[in-house]
Symmetry: C2
Subunit: 339 residues, 2 copies
């Protein structure tokens, strides 16, 4: 259990100052006018002693940690963990590391996470913000901390974000149901005013209108994130028992999984009795007896763009805020009633 070797150790080992070693290890031999043979000697010594720089010390001095804080609703949700994977890879390419936290869509937890990450001096944040957390984000911005929002955002905030066009994606999905002859189209969403949900609901309603279908407020069923299973089962009863709709649009893959289980339990046949479309992907969609049509977001693009934006911001390459709209496409399969 040898002690870690420090800069000073390698300096001492060849009888030079620590400064010199620092310059060489950071490839600043030119600027610092380090002699060629001395540079070689230092590199050799560093290799021999297996010197590994202490990044904590470096961080303290530099005021930067090369760490990105990723805050999502729940890292165990495949939607977010897939993004996390991309973020990890992209960050690594630039020598960054990522530290993650799950907010459970809870403003207080998110605030705690931001605090904890801040005291650890993360250089930047990538956040899928919980509801009512605009002040937290605003606070980061006014402290000049680079942050990019993913999946949802706050339109009145001047902040970088990456998301799909939820309004139109939603509209296209519902439009497809209408084209397939469905006339009584319900939607299962979360009871939150977060931008992605609001847009999806608006897109749904707009598509109905466009299709000359009069929206009925009982068609829009909302469940809370925290009690999804209980509420979905219970609240869908009103729509499905007896069956008062002929199509159902899920705002999220979790909602779809919960909803489809309820539908199965009631013995409703998809798509004959009820056509179905969901947002996001799931292995489950492939194995449902009537493969589920879904709105596919490119998680790769979301992750890549988020890292790109946040690092650009960090390096002051961008001044004014930019929001990136990534593509979403409808993957049409049997569940929506036709192809």
């Amino acid at each position: 259990m040898e002690k870690k070797v420090s800069l000073k150790d390698v300096a001492k080992h060849i009888g030079v100052s620590a400064a010199l070693v620092s310059y060489v290890m950071n490839g600043k031999e030119k600027e610092a006018r380090v002699g060629l043979d001395m540079a070689k000697k230092i590199k050799a010594a560093a290799a021999e002693l297996n010197y590994q720089p202490n990044l904590i010390a470096k961080s303290l001095k530099m005021g930067t940690t090369r760490t990105i804080g990723l805050i999502v609703a729940d890292i165990s949700n495949p939607f977010f963990s897939s993004i996390a994977r991309i973020v990890e890879d992209e960050a690594k390419k630039q020598g960054y590391v990522v530290i993650f936290g799950s907010s459970d869509e809870n403003a207080e937890k998110q605030s705690d996470l931001i605090d904890v990450f801040s005291t650890r001096l993360v250089d930047a944040f990538i956040i899928a913000p919980a509801a009512n957390t605009a002040p937290q984000i605003q606070n980061l911005i006014s402290r000049a901390v680079p942050v990019v929002l993913i999946d949802r955002f706050f339109s009145w905030l001047n902040v970088d974000c990456v998301h799909i066009d939820n309004y139109n994606a939603s509209g296209k999905a519902v439009e497809r149901l209408i084209r397939n002859g469905r006339k009584k189209i319900g939607m299962l969403a979360y009871d939150t005013a977060q931008s992605h949900m609001e847009e999806r609901k608006l897109g749904y309603k707009a598509a109905l209108k466009e299709g000359n279908i009069r929206f009925k407020k009982e068609w829009l069923v909302e469940a809370s994130y925290q009690h999804i299973n209980e509420e979905v089962t219970e609240k869908l009863q009103h729509l499905l028992n007896p069956l008062t709709i002929d199509a159902l649009f899920f705002a999220t893959n979790s909602l779809a999984v919960a909803g489809l289980k309820a539908i199965n339990k009631m013995g409703i046949k998809v798509p004959e009795q009820l056509a179905v479309i969901s947002f996001d992907e799931s292995d489950a969609f492939d194995f449902f007896y009537s493969p589920v049509t879904y709105v596919s977001q490119s998680l790769t693009d979301i992750g890549k763009e988020a890292v790109k934006l946040v690092l650009n911001r960090l390096n002051n390459k961008i001044k004014k805020n930019s929001s990136v709209i990534v593509e979403a496409k409808l993957v049409v399969r049997e569940s929506c009633g036709s192809r």
Copy 2:
């Protein structure tokens, strides 16, 4: 964009030394004999100035970061992201934060991750080790870095680990297939010698023997982690086209998902023509037309125990290594041919 307020700032604000503030902020007022009213004054000032300690500076001084490095095969795999979530929560309870990395079951990537995390002075590691990485783990141990292995381990290494009894879990699954009258039982596994795979394969063979079924080597189909989709589809051909087995045991949920897709494509009926059991869970299993029987590992237990062990080790509460076996149970549903 105010500068961060430091210990010195609050010290200066009330005209005392930084040391005093440090003592108070760390609740060491007793040991350091800080006056009662002074302590109050300092706390008030800290609150007023909204002082947040710089954890990087603290880390440098203390040589500890209150960070756990979590290395898994792929954070986007629900199996690992579920564990990650538990680890996150348990770590947070103790004031720890977790930084993650995906090895893709690749020894070199894992080594890089360990190096990167080490230079960042993570206090401890939780690792689902890739194949042939015992030396890396041994190295950590001999450097006295706390580490616990999850899911797989190296029997010849003196290291804490948390896993299920793969041999018996596997055996029970196969035994169930035999009891259901299946006589030609195949297995789809990864082509790796990692302990969990080896044990699952051995358990499978042992159960066959126990059931007086002579194992045929062509029954054991192995695919590589890196090319799972191609290889599973291709290699299953030999078993399924024509159908030479009446049951198939999947060593992993990813293998099951890939395998079931192939089975679907070939129009093989589960469980009539082919009974099926898998390891791990998946939303997909619930939606398969014949709900899939699976070996359920308690991911919660794995995560909790891993954090507990590694923090105990960190605090020197345990001296000799301990391996925790968490429970696994067979969740029996239609796919295995009977209940």
